[in-house]
């Protein structure tokens, strides 16, 4: 325990990190660092402004499920000032004859503007940002302005930005392939799917440090631990490349060299070649569409909702909800990836031409996976060279 206090949590290798944080839980992690937090508390609080765009509020709901610590403990222990959050705070927007009424204690729009004006906050974005129609952003509005305007104002004054969940990070389901995708034109904060040149920040010409917390929804540990690391200075927001992968995700939660499949609770069945053909069985779910081998997340170790379970444990194939191209990279969800012509930006035919069959399916998956992982490694290398 004492030893771990001196370790920089986000620069730990994955194994150590999991030992320190994954195994003992985030509340213990916070406990270890409590003296430092107390020190920070004497100085000031860390202000969080949390804004909602085109989303389902699932990431906020997930945040409320945080157990290690829970949200109120985190606010207390980390000395966080949750200055703005539409779903949780008392205020609402009030306009009388077109003018904002009352004060920031009652009016959320005044509260938001004042908090942005003061600056010095971490901006959390949940939901993607509508750019349509025609760059106006009018497909998502509130408080008599577009969310695009709100985002621009809030991003400009932010110290750093956390894009929480797939919609905010990469566009998510809003940006899934369809014939209206170009009209609605939803953007992630810094990315559109896998493309970092098409995020809303690029459109607006704003340059800010951005951390992407993937997941649909984001796991509360991923959100709260990253927040903790930023607040404690365990992440240097001016040197994020050291701790983030090529898609802006913290490597400790979304390991580059490792997939969900490696720690899947059903892994033993896979190793023994027990691959289910139908749902509701106990075996490996590869043949019913599991995308675990292509998905970088620590779900298998961390699990969900107080570590009760996770998707594959509950018999569902992984749908790759942490990968930037979600949902299209994994859809159709209940078909083996080998049956898709294109996956994860690559031609599956070149990934593997091996046909069906129990053992063969496993081999095919590994062949495909190697190619996906090689692609990530190349991307990262290229990024580093730039």
């Amino acid at each position: 325990m004492e030893k771990s206090e001196n370790r920089d949590f986000f620069s730990m290798d994955r194994r150590t990190f999991l030992k320190v944080v994954g195994a003992i839980g985030a509340s213990a992690f916070l406990g270890i660092h409590s003296s430092k937090i107390t020190k920070a508390l004497e100085l000031s609080k860390t202000k969080i402004i949390w804004i909602h765009g085109a989303e389902c509020t699932g990431c906020s709901s997930s945040l409320l499920n945080g157990g290690n610590p829970d949200l109120s403990q985190a606010i207390d222990k980390l000395s966080v000032d949750l200055a703005f959050h539409e779903t949780l705070l008392a205020q609402q927007g009030i306009f009388v004859d077109g003018s904002p009424a009352s004060t920031s204690e009652l009016n959320s729009e005044i509260l938001l503007d004042e908090a942005i004006e003061e600056g010095n906050y971490i901006l959390v974005v949940e939901g993607s940002i509508a750019n349509g129609p025609d760059g106006s952003g009018k497909y998502c509005m509130y408080g008599e302005r577009t969310f695009k305007e709100i985002f621009e104002k809030a991003a400009t004054n932010a110290t750093a930005i956390m894009a929480v969940g797939m919609c905010a990070a990469y566009g998510g389901v809003n940006s899934a392939d369809s014939d209206i995708k170009d009209i609605t034109d939803f953007r992630g904060v810094a990315y559109l799917n896998e493309d970092s040149s098409k995020g809303m920040l690029s459109i607006l010409g704003i340059d800010k440090p951005v951390i992407n917390i993937a997941g649909c929804p984001a796991h509360p540990d991923w959100v709260l631990l990253t927040l903790a690391a930023v607040i404690l200075g365990k992440i240097d927001i001016n040197n994020l490349d050291a701790v983030l992968d090529t898609y802006g995700r913290p490597v400790v939660f979304f390991p580059t060299d490792n997939s969900m499949h490696d720690n899947c609770p059903r892994r033993g069945y896979y190793d023994r070649g027990i691959l289910d053909d139908d749902l509701s069985g106990e075996g490996c779910l590869l043949k019913v569409g599991c995308k675990g081998p292509y998905t970088r997340s620590d779900c298998g170790l961390r699990r969900w909702n107080g570590s009760v379970s996770m998707c594959t444990q509950a018999g569902s194939p992984c749908i790759s909800c942490c990968e930037p191209g979600f949902p299209d990279v994994a859809s159709p969800f209940y078909e083996m990836i080998e049956d898709k012509p294109l996956a994860y930006g690559m031609n599956v035919g070149t990934m593997s031409t091996i046909g069906v069959g129990v053992a063969a399916a496993g081999v095919a998956a590994h062949a495909a996976r190697r190619i996906v992982f090689d692609k990530y490694a190349e991307d990262r290398k290229r990024k580093e060279e730039e």
């Binding site: 949750l82 539409e86 609402q92 927007g93 809003n174 509701s280 969800f333």
Partner: protein
């Protein structure tokens, strides 16, 4: 006339704008409800493998994803012609996870989203005028219902105990959900053909444990009497009159004890529901129990006597006594919560989904007329300057469509379901309110019905888990995917906040050609229709007062509690509501639209 706009209406899911006209007496004379987001999920589903729909549609709403997933699998079971074979234990499991979702959503709504309005500073000022009791009650309200990051006059207020405990309770329930669904939000278990997970004996124990945790919360916060006693005397009362008498006698006993001691704490028997019933309602608190003041929430969110309004439920929770299989269209007749249409005179009629229509005359569409969706095409405005929320009741002002049942706008949600069930406490309370010149359905009765439904479902959840679930049963039948060819499916269900329907069609390539969702908030927060008839929320605002307790401290347009209580009592979910919108380009006008 003053224009009072609440935008955004926070503490709901998504972005809702409520715009009102208020006269010099502080009475709301006109109202528009506007959904502020266009997302287009239904079009995203076109050309996909239908089985993906139950994962995609959950992403419509992170508060009630399970209900979306359930409506979706019902539609898919129908599409793949497998509904009549779904194993009984899969149906039980689906009932279990939906009941968990509804309970968690209700607890979150009551305490985290709606409850904080009880500590609006207007009530501090109102209660300050009542010597003795007033300040005690205010402190009681504050210590229970204050939200996170709450400030009054610059002073930080500690979050209320009930508020914090409700968040823990929501977490507890979602852990129960994860036992079956893997994770929550966006559980993974609901698939066409059944469920992916086979609960084992240990899971039954775990789920039972979660029930007892829930009861600990109820018995230490929500209710001052034992939950079992409460349900025996209300839900199981032999008549609505007896159920109401139990409530009133129970409250009278508490008042008799507490008025002299000025103790309204939980230990004096005042659960959250008792406190709300006595001090939230003018009729119960002031006129019946003789309390010196109340928040008069029963005077908000009601309908005019001649209102053009109905109450609708599609039915929820399969009848699992009948073994395998269900009828996607007719299941609501034998469901635990039955399908029904109830008219404004509270006459119950059989529900027929064919009467459900939608139109967009006041939505942001370029179509000129209100079209029946069966033949209709809808094209959202794509010119930015045409998207404006300032045009008033005659204009296009929302992304939400206007659904109607046989032409009637309908309120959906817990109170509609409990009316359909003829739940004694709900029916009795509504009768008492109607007899005394109040709207039978108002913000107060709406919230009490929600709490009552949570208690009823908790008990039912335990039955499904401990009596009906067989760990050795069957949980999945593999649907024949070829059955989707040129097929269609209907999925009727109830989300926590009301009637939810999905309609799916697939083409010869077995992929989705059309997917339509008609969701609860589309009903409740509907804009006007082509006849100019306002939606339920709009109707519930018009004619009521803008500020606290019937403008008791004068008209204060800058703190429009009337709008806040009423709009939030409908538990709006805007992300859901605006997904009904779809764009149909000219090339696709040959597509057939289902009745929605």
């Amino acid at each position: 006339m003053t224009r009072v706009v609440v935008d955004p209406l926070t503490r709901i899911e998504g972005h809702l704008r409520v715009s009102t006209e208020v006269n010099a007496n502080g009475e709301i004379t006109d109202a528009q409800s506007s959904g502020m987001l266009f997302r287009g999920m239904e079009r995203i589903l076109v050309n996909r493998d239908p089985r993906d729909a139950s994962r995609f549609t959950q992403r419509v709403c992170g508060i009630c994803p399970t209900a979306q997933g359930m409506a979706s699998v019902n539609a898919l079971d129908d599409l793949y012609e497998v509904a009549d074979q779904i194993p009984k234990d899969a149906l039980v499991t689906r009932n279990i996870i939906q009941s968990i979702n509804t309970m968690a959503s209700h607890a979150t709504h009551i305490y985290v989203l709606w409850g904080p309005d009880l500590v609006n500073p207007a009530y501090r000022d109102l209660l300050a005028t009542v010597e003795g009791t007033g300040s005690v009650v205010w402190k009681e309200l504050l210590s229970r219902f204050a939200p996170i990051s709450y400030k009054l006059n610059g002073e930080s207020i500690t979050p209320g105990t009930a508020y914090i405990n409700a968040i823990k309770e929501k977490k507890n329930l979602e852990e129960a959900m994860a036992v079956i669904g893997g994770k929550m939000p966006h559980q993974m278990a609901t698939v066409t053909g059944g469920v992916t997970y086979r609960p084992n004996l240990a899971d039954i124990g775990t789920l039972t444990g979660h029930y007892y945790k829930l009861m600990d919360f109820v018995n230490s916060s929500t209710l001052g009497v034992n939950a079992q006693t409460w349900l025996d005397n209300t839900y199981r009362a032999s008549s609505p009159q007896k159920a109401v008498n139990f409530l009133l006698e129970h409250l009278q006993n508490l008042v008799d004890k507490s008025l002299s001691s000025n103790d309204f704490s939980f230990s004096a028997g005042w659960g959250d529901l008792e406190l709300l019933s006595a001090f939230g309602s003018e009729l119960i608190g002031e006129k019946t129990l003789g309390l010196p003041a109340s928040l008069k929430i029963d005077k908000t969110g009601g309908y005019a006597e001649d209102a053009n309004i109905g109450f609708l439920t599609y039915g929820a929770f399969y009848d699992v006594e009948n073994g395998d299989g269900y009828d996607p269209v007719g299941f609501g007749q034998s469901a635990f919560q039955q399908a029904a249409f109830i008219n404004s005179s509270f006459e119950k009629k059989a529900f027929d989904h064919k009467y459900v229509t939608e139109e967009t005359s006041h939505g942001f569409y370029s179509s000129d007329d209100a079209l029946h969706p069966y033949d209709g095409v809808t094209e959202p405005l794509t010119t930015a300057s045409e998207i404006t929320y300032e045009g008033g009741s005659d204009s296009r002002y929302s992304w939400i469509k206007a659904p109607r049942y046989n032409g009637t706008p309908c309120e959906v949600g817990p109170i509609s379901r409990l009316i359909a069930m003829e739940e004694p406490l709900t029916m009795g309370m509504m009768q008492v309110f109607a007899d005394n010149g109040y709207s039978a359905v108002n913000s107060f009765t709406r919230m009490v019905a929600k709490a009552q439904e949570l208690l009823i479902l908790a008990e039912q959840f335990l039955k499904w888990v401990t009596v009906d679930l067989d760990p050795n049963g069957k949980y999945f039948v593999n649907p024949d995917l070829d059955n989707a060819k040129d097929s269609k499916g209907i999925g009727l269900w109830e989300a926590p906040r009301g009637a939810l329907g999905h309609w799916v069609k697939a083409g010869s390539d077995l992929k989705i050609t059309n997917y339509q969702m008609v969701v609860p908030t589309t009903w409740n927060c509907s804009p006007r229709d082509a006849n100019g008839v306002a939606g339920p929320l709009e109707q519930a605002l018009i004619g009521t007062k803008i500020s606290a307790a019937e403008n008791a401290l004068g008209v204060d347009n800058t703190n429009p509690t009337g709008i806040l209580h009423t709009a939030r009592s409908f538990d709006p979910c805007i992300a859901c509501a605006v997904h009904t919108i779809d764009l149909t380009d000219k090339a696709r006008t040959s597509r057939t639209f289902n009745i929605v």
